[in-house]
């Protein structure tokens, strides 16, 4: 459910920042005998406060300088083979249930979920979800953006998800995930997934997505894999449909990813190829574009982690789907950053980047404090 708060933005930010600071400074009560986590129910909070400053070369650059405070709340419950998971993101102006899943352990290595989940064909989001503290960089790659950030690929699906893993060789592993359900609709210029509590307008069509990964050490960090997805997006915005010349967009996604950790180095590389089939009674047409990124991180003494990321696209500037769906989609971005884990479970991150969108280019600097509780 989305709540609109009738408070001035500055006051809201101050209140949320204060709340985040209080959460960060005051540890939860823990008995001398045992920690109250890890039982049948468990919860985590991922608060973060972020300031962004942009210097643009054109007026069409994205939103001006701003500050943002969010708290991602994760709750899980296990009872025998039953599992429940809820992830809620609280920002200054909205509260949104991002994931709500009920699961059953079919076997030792297989979980069947029903509910709203993150589609498994995203290499980044299935790893970090909304937990800001667990991703080294402040920003996520543009092609991995959530729907409400102008993301091009549907990320929240309502339906069924199965996750399974098995052994291969003496130490390796294979991990599979597949999801099927209702895709977002395209309305008022952005993708709208099925909401958990808010009233849905309907018109959602089918989505399926899958991921297969090879893990050289099945309990390690490295993985190499392929993703496949097809999302049938209903264009419910009449103005957009008229301008777009399409009442339906089918997105076929195929991608590959690699994630490696060697000594103090960590590398993640991902590439997606997207075929967009725009259909209408008048002039259906097909187009395609690609998007990828490479992020490199290095752990240094004093808990410092410098990182760099390059994002690039192919043919995206010529795609009418990209142009109509997200004018702020970035064709290219280069960034450098430094994360400092200054104490246990707390990090300060500085990130500077240069981005080129369909309309303009701009520089930005971000500073973020993120942490996890308890």
């Amino acid at each position: 459910m989305r709540y609109e708060f009738d408070v001035r933005p500055t006051a809201r930010l101050a209140v949320l920042t204060l709340l985040v600071a209080v959460l960060g400074c005051r540890a939860p009560p823990v008995s001398a005998e045992e920690h109250h986590h890890g039982g049948d129910s468990d919860w985590l909070l991922f608060p973060s406060v972020e300031a962004i400053e942009r210097s643009d070369t054109h007026e069409q650059a994205p939103q001006d300088d701003f500050e943002r405070a969010t708290v991602d709340v994760l709750f899980s419950h296990s009872q025998g083979r039953f599992r429940a998971l809820a992830e809620t993101e609280c920002a200054i102006d909205e509260v949104e249930i991002e994931r709500l899943q009920l699961g059953w352990e079919v076997g030792e290595n297989t979980l069947l979920w029903a509910g709203r989940f993150h589609q498994p064909a995203s290499a980044w989001n299935t790893q970090h979800h909304h937990g800001q503290y667990l991703q080294t960089a402040i920003t996520r790659p543009n092609i991995e953006h959530w729907e409400d950030e102008g993301g091009l690929i549907p990320q929240h699906i309502a339906g069924l998800l199965v996750e399974s893993r098995g052994s291969i060789g003496s130490n390796g592993g294979l991990a599979f995930s597949a999801g099927a359900g209702a895709a977002p609709i395209l309305r008022i210029g952005r993708l709208e997934p099925v909401a958990v509590l808010r009233t849905n307008t309907g018109g959602h069509r089918s989505s399926w997505s899958g991921r297969a990964a090879y893990e050289p050490d099945q309990l390690g960090d490295d993985s190499f894999g392929l993703v496949l997805a097809q999302h049938d997006v209903n264009v419910l915005d009449p103005g957009l449909a008229a301008a777009f010349g399409a009442t339906d967009v089918t997105l076929d996604v195929v991608g590959a990813f690699a994630k490696m950790a060697r000594d103090d180095w960590r590398v993640q590389a991902t590439y997606y190829h997207i075929d967009a089939h725009l259909t209408s009674g008048l002039r259906p047409h097909d187009e395609n574009f690609g998007a990828g990124y490479l992020q490199v991180e290095r752990s240094l003494p004093a808990r410092l982690t410098p990182f760099a990321r390059l994002e690039s696209t192919a043919n995206a500037a010529r795609s009418s789907y990209v142009a109509f769906q997200s004018r702020e989609f970035e064709l290219r971005r280069a960034l450098l950053g430094l994360r400092w884990d200054f104490t246990r479970n707390h990090a300060l991150t500085l990130e500077a980047g240069h981005a080129t969108t369909l309309l303009t280019n701009f520089n930005e600097v971000r500073l973020q404090w993120s942490f996890v509780l308890p």
Partner: protein, 146 residues
């Protein structure tokens, strides 16, 4: 006579102390009522990384023994094979990804052993000397020897 007896006791203690220290072993334990008879190293690691291991229809639960710093260090090196900061981050990730439960942590051996004894699905580690005479607890195997 009294001095010689005291000297003998001191010598015995001096002689016994190194052998106790040398025999200090970290063992894998379950409840005496547990159906679990064997867990290999990768299964124990899976459990402590929040992944599922099922035996006799029971979804096993790892309990984190934080009663002794040396035991915890031995656990990090020999069971999960990663530094504490990396281990904590992996647990957060697996909970975020799959809603997996993190191992419940206990600060005293008494509380930990009581929890293991009461739950046939519980698995933990302990010093062998702490459980050798505890009839409520069964040792599955030695994980590490000092």
């Amino acid at each position: 006579m009294r001095w010689s007896a005291a000297l003998l006791c001191a010598l015995l203690l001096l002689g016994a102390a190194p052998s106790v220290a040398a025999d200090r072993s970290m063992v894998l334990i379950v409840s005496a009522d547990s159906p679990v008879t064997h867990l290999d190293a990768i299964e124990v690691r899976k459990l402590y990384l929040g992944l599922s291991v099922i035996r006799a229809g029971l979804s096993l639960r790892a309990l984190d023994n934080r009663s002794d710093d040396k035991l915890h260090q031995a656990f990090l090196q020999n069971v999960v094979a990663m530094p504490e900061s990396v281990y904590e981050r992996r647990l957060l990730s697996i909970m975020l990804q799959q809603g997996a439960r993190r191992p419940q942590a206990f600060e005293t051996a008494t509380a930990l052993l009581a929890a293991v004894a009461a739950d046939p699905s519980a698995v933990s580690v302990a010093w062998a000397t702490e459980v050798v005479q505890d009839r409520r607890i069964r040792v599955l195997r030695v994980l590490w020897r000092d």
